[in-house]
Symmetry: C2
Subunit: 144 residues, 2 copies
Amino acid sequence: MDRIDEQILRLLKGNGRMTSSEIGKHVHLSIPAVSERICKMEERGLIEQFSVKINREKMGFHLLAFIMVQLEKPEHIQAFRTVIQEHEQILECHHIAGEYDYLLKTVSRSPSDLERLISDTVKQVKGVVKTSTLIALSTVKEER
Amino acid sequence: MDRIDEQILRLLKGNGRMTSSEIGKHVHLSIPAVSERICKMEERGLIEQFSVKINREKMGFHLLAFIMVQLEKPEHIQAFRTVIQEHEQILECHHIAGEYDYLLKTVSRSPSDLERLISDTVKQVKGVVKTSTLIALSTVKEER
DNA sequence: GTTGAAACAATTACGCC
DNA sequence: GGCGTAATTGTTTCAAC
């Protein structure tokens, strides 16, 4: 992980489909040299995966909300995690320290859709005793 | 945006470098047909960009924290946004409704690094009157 | 949408330092 | 271990339909 690898990562972050020859022009390396560096970074787990950023607005998800969840007892964690993993509108779930136990990042099509997500999905999980929802009005920055 | 486009998006989400020929085998379409669909989704803005998911842990960022920020007056927003955009450890910034005005998703190398981020960067911005930090203990799900 | 030819990029094998 | 060159293989692009 040297200076050149960092440059390659920066380039790939901006365009995950950039060709090795194009990257090579930036870092002054041959095509096989660039390919090998990318492969090695994948092997080491530094590069987790190549992906696409999808515009959620254009997919109909107009609402971004953060839901903080209080879980009563640790015995309900497994059921909770299963629900989280299976729900496509729950993008992120972090175990956090503080008054609440989990912080969820969610997307919804409408306020009523968010209502369903909170009432029918999150609060339906055994052990969920309290939630607090933060609605995003706009997004200033989002490095996904 | 039909059934096939959805399938293509799902495949690209899992592997942004999947070839059109490979995608074609899944959706039973020829290579130019797949390429054209991907191009059209890029033109429409549905696909924002191709990217790469980098393992933050392996990059030395062991701490994930959410910082909620209260901004005194709207006249300080521009300066605040500039700081946000320029700081690489601030991954996300959402304008939110509620007691706090902004929710920041941040990464740090260590607790002292997070301390610097809060004290020397965020609180240094004019108009920032209050912050509240949620430390992530672990991440259950993160669709980036 | 498909097919096929041309252009392009990646992979492999090899030699080099 | 890391790099470059050149041949091979595979992929995309571009036409025509």
